[in-house]
Amino acid sequence: MSESSRPLLEVEDLRVQFSLPEGIVRAVDGVSFFIREGETLGLVGESGCGKSLTALSILRLITPPGRIATGAIRYRGRDLLKLSEPEIRKVRGKQIALIFQEPVAALNPVYTVGDQIAEAIRVHNKVSKKDALSQAVQLLRLVQIADAERRVREYPHQMSGGMCQRVMIAMALSCKPSLIMADEPTTALDVTIQAEILDLLKRLKDEFGLSMLLISHNLGVIAGAADRVAVMYAGRIVEEAPVRELFASPKHPYTIGLLRSVPRLGGRQRSARRRLASIPGSVPDPLSREPGCPFAPRCTDVMQVCRKLEPELLPLEGERKVSCFLHHPSEGEGSAVVG
């Protein structure tokens, strides 16, 4: 692949482990994906599947007892895992910015929002405090905060959750990054505010040609904002596909179950209450992992091979990938002979 056609970010076989007294938890267990310039990759999965840790790993923000065991994270061709601490600090915020779930908790309560945005600017750019503050006002306007000159002097507690998330977005944009990672950016917000924030993110992304890693458990949010989707389960990506294809014809039994169990507005049939489809059982205990496919205990189409071998994420037609022996039967047979 030539340098120019290379994706902006490539993650290869990322593994994050936590060494606990009870044993080793493989929280992210061999994750590979890429994000192109200007593309939004949706990372979807339930709590504990490793989606947030994947984002934190990209900026090397994993703290003990967790550590990145192996893998490569290539950003514009450079492996971020090989950078020195001062070098990675130049990437954080400047090249790749992170937006968190709890905007109110992510802001410092004792500084004005203007000071906090200005600080982010001054970490990476040589500008005076005054210039940084006037840039902060511009940024607040960009994220559609009315009366920006006044609000720049306000403290986080004077703002609503939705406003704080706009401030976080302004801060993320302050150093003109090329990749934004948004970890459940609207989960803590009310549904009307969520819609506004998602619209804002989309508009800014188009305006500045940003790439985005959008992490969410909400399939509605993913459907509305992502170009491609990766579905995670128990530390692995089990399916990857362009958004329309994933929702139109999910391939992995977990994705199928997940899409079925989402209650849909207007899904109610003529005055009869319908049972929701659900996935039986619960996520496997990360400390006592059985061999085989991690979804096998909950899978309705489980086969013998699934309990013995772990399927790999392999390509299907087009841009699709799935890790399931139903779709790659030969893989199971072949390895079964070897095993």
């Binding site: 339930e46 009310d190 909400n218 949010v221 459907a223 507005l265 109610r268 929701l276 619960s282 996520v283």
Partner: protein, 334 residues
């Protein structure tokens, strides 16, 4: 009017809960947060009434006032023919056998130092209903009923997942054979695949034990799924109340419309037709005059800031408080 005859289990009238705002050294009361500001609700026996609204709309406070976990400022709560607000603390404690609650957070609502057997059996102990091996049998039955193995009794909450913990919370709520369960965001903290299991369990139990639910939630699709009727709250008031199907297919209040239009659709081929709302939720300490929704309403007219609309029936049991649905001149009682 007897409750038996009209089939109503719970009748809430004019419920208000004002929290005082205290300021200064002498904690002088300088104002009130009107968390619940005149709520009327009726729950028919065996039905599920969904109560939806955004944070700060007063839906949780309404639930807590019905249970008298918070003392209401004004109003009446009639449950099964009794006026709950007139009961002495002792009688109220007896009445609570009939009224139970399931909380949102399955992590903080179970005591981490108690075994599951004691958690689920505690209501039986408090109300001196069963002890010893009889209590143990009852607890085992309850755990089976919610789909857990009776051996769970000897384990601690941390050994269970969120969905299983919520089942434990449900078992505890069922221990005293209640008639009404107030479910306060019972599935909001759960993952989608597990959320569906718990919603199904609640629906099965309702059928089996003829329970009545007040289902408080912010997720409109879950509420649509489980409810027979749905009430929408905004700034401490109910702005619309109707059969679930009517409310979702033909929402009348502009707030309900905006709320429904904002729900993200899990289908990438659907282009959302969002109705944007202006500004932010006003403070419940200083609600706007007239219709509290008028500053954000996309279709507000001249009368809206002046006159507060009443929650009126359009004849089909579909209630809405909006001047555009029920123009001031057309009102039956002017």
């Amino acid at each position: 009017m007897s409750d038996e005859r009209n089939g109503n289990l719970l009748e809430v009238r004019g419920l208000r809960k004002y929290f005082p705002i205290r300021r200064g050294v002498f904690s002088k009361v300088s104002g009130f947060v009107r968390a619940v500001d005149g709520v009327d609700l009726t729950l028919r026996r065996g039905e599920t009434l969904g109560l939806v609204g955004e944070s700060g709309s007063g839906k949780t406070t309404t639930g807590r006032c019905i249970l008298r976990l918070l003392e209401p400022t004004a109003g009446s709560v009639r449950f099964d023919g009794k006026d709950l607000l007139a009961l002495s603390p002792r009688d109220m404690r007896r009445a609570r056998r009939q009224l139970q609650v399931i909380f949102q957070d399955p992590y903080s609502s179970l005591n981490p130092r108690m075994r599951i057997g004691s958690i689920v059996g505690e209501p039986l102990a408090i109300h001196r209903i069963a002890k010893g091996s009889e209590r143990e049998h009852r607890v085992a039955d309850l755990l089976c009923k919610v789909g857990l193995d009776p051996s769970a009794m000897r384990r601690y909450p941390h050994e269970f997942s969120g969905g299983q913990r919520q089942r434990i919370g449900i078992a505890r709520a069922l221990a005293l054979n209640p008639k009404l369960i107030i479910c306060d965001e019972p599935v909001s903290a759960l993952d989608v695949s597990v959320q569906a299991q718990v919603v199904n369990l609640l629906m099965d139990l309702q059928e089996e034990l003829s329970l009545t639910y007040l289902f408080i939630a912010h997720d409109l699709s879950v509420v649509e799924h489980i409810s027979d009727r749905v009430a929408v709250m905004y700034l401490g008031k109910i702005v619309e109340l109707a059969d679930a199907e009517a409310l979702y297919e033909d929402p009348q209040h502009p707030y309900t419309r905006a709320l429904l239009s904002a729900v993200p659709v899990p289908d990438p081929t659907v282009k959302p037709a969002r109705i944007p709302l202006k500004g932010e939720l006003p403070s419940p300490a200083a609600p706007p005059p007239g219709c509290a929704f008028h500053p954000r309403c996309p279709v507000a007219v001249e009368v809206c800031p002046r006159v507060e609309p009443e929650l009126l029936d359009s004849g089909t049991g579909h209630l809405a408080s909006c001047h555009l649905v029920h123009p001031v001149g057309d009102r039956p009682f002017g």
